[in-house]
């Protein structure tokens, strides 16, 4: 019922030229591993400044979907259209590899669950942030270092740690460094895979506060994959619930959590321990 409505709305938006442009338009994405479905039939639009959460249990296909969207996995079918600065909506699945790589260094960012996957562990904290700036053409050492210091401050890492390697950082600090490294180039779209997973609750709260502030100040759009419903309630405007590779429910975050329509979502919401 809900899905039917959203796909109708989706179609009508195609013809409505007065509506603002979506930043990302996902059309009928499917990815299979042999006989097994990774994810299938995924459609949605993401607008500038919007944060969408994707929830579901392990194996529901949420990470597969995120990796297809971010260009880490090639979907078997479907389109991932991104509103590029030069040419408007372009399908990033069929885009040339160098172009896609450029996109993932400039307008896109990917925050991994394990900070080690997103950081260069043998390079200093300042180097980790500066490296992404250099990848987009920054060459002035002083400016790069100043920018790195500014970003370390924004993610609450003391300037005195700039020359330390991330291996000397705590898990929470590594995660914040990863975020700084990703956001320094001013991306428009951030993919996050369980960004607060494995962190202490106090560190999680700090990170959530930080992410909310950055989303508002920079007008970021974000897609956050998590199994933590409390995280999406605080961060996401919209929610997509996945089970066995299918999207079973979509809607406004608080509506999906407070008045879930699908049997699986009802089970998911009622299984959360109250604190």
């Amino acid at each position: 019922m809900t899905l039917q409505n959203s796909s109708d709305a989706f179609r009508s938006e195609y013809t409505d030229h007065s509506a603002p442009h979506p930043l990302l338009r996902v059309v009928d994405i499917e990815k299979c591993y042999g006989q097994r479905i990774g994810c299938t039939g995924v459609n949605f639009d993401l607008y500038p400044g919007e944060v969408m959460g994707i929830v579901g249990e392990s194996g529901s296909g949420k990470s597969t979907l995120l990796n297809c969207l971010a260009g880490h996995l090639e979907p078997d079918q479907g389109e991932v259209l991104f509103d590029t600065r030069d040419a408007g909506l372009v399908d990033t699945v069929t885009m040339a590899e160098p172009e896609r790589r450029m996109l993932s260094r400039t307008d896109w960012a990917f925050v991994h669950q394990h900070a080690r996957d997103g950081l260069r562990m043998s390079v200093s904290a300042g180097g980790n942030v500066g490296e992404r700036l250099m990848a987009v053409g920054a060459r002035h050492y002083g400016q790069i270092r100043d920018e790195a210091i500014d970003w370390l401050g924004r993610v609450e890492i003391n300037e005195t740690r700039i020359d330390d390697r991330p291996s000397a950082f705590s898990g929470g600090m590594q995660q914040r460094l990863q975020i700084a490294r990703n956001l320094v180039t001013g991306p428009r779209l951030v993919f996050m895979d369980e960004p607060t997973g494995g962190l202490d609750v106090s560190v999680q709260a700090r990170l959530l506060d930080l992410l909310r502030g950055l989303v508002r100040q920079m007008g970021l759009s974000a897609i956050i994959v998590t199994h933590d419903l409390a995280v999406v309630r605080l961060l996401a405007d919209r929610l997509m619930v996945m089970k066995d590779g299918h999207v079973v429910e979509t809607g406004l975050t608080d509506q999906v959590l407070d008045d879930p329509q699908h049997a699986y979502t009802q089970l998911l919401v009622s299984s959360v321990l109250q604190v």
């Binding site: 919007e50 709260a205 605080l234 919209r238 809607g251 509506q255 008045d259 049997a263 009802q266």
Partner: protein, 227 residues
Amino acid sequence: MISIQNVEKSFTLHNQGAAVITVMSDANVEVTPGECVALAGASGAGKSTLMRMIYGNYLTQSGSIRVDGVEVVGANPRDVLDLRRTTLGYVSQFLRVVPRVPTLDVVAEPLLALGEDEGVARDKAATLLARLNIPERLWSLSPTTFSGGEQQRVNIARGFVHPYRALLLDEPTASLDAQNRETVMCLIEEAKARGAAIVGIFHDESARDRVCDRVLDVTSFLPKGDA
């Protein structure tokens, strides 16, 4: 301003034998600018449910709910969020905030979301917190550690910091002392004077009699046969 027509609401409990519970049928309400309507009825009659449906927090099965001309039933999440940002405020009984965020920022947030200048937003938030007698030394702390009454006043400040043209108030005076209750009464009267349409739940009868123009018993919206 708020127009509810032929609205029906049911819950399907998939994990309890797919039981379908219809809690409301044929609900009709009109609230004009500057008017305050109190929802009445016994506990469980559907007062909060109706408020949540107006806010888009609960899905509505059929009928129409319009707020400032925007149809909430079947709306895109984007349109509901936009309505909430600009037009429709909600003071709930529970304060839900990101831990660690200072009270002043919690109250200023609705203005910042509308693109208001940070300094102006914080000034407005400070004025309201002072009016609601939240001591200034608490403004830099997160409200998560506050007492129930303090949290409620923070919630009220958040709901009145932007001049919403439609307001939903869920027991705004429930755990307040006489002085703070008076402040909230004044805030509601000021909102009415600037033309806000208000729907509220007031268990406090003297508060209800003072600010509400009429009382609507939601028991009449219970499905026929149950009533």
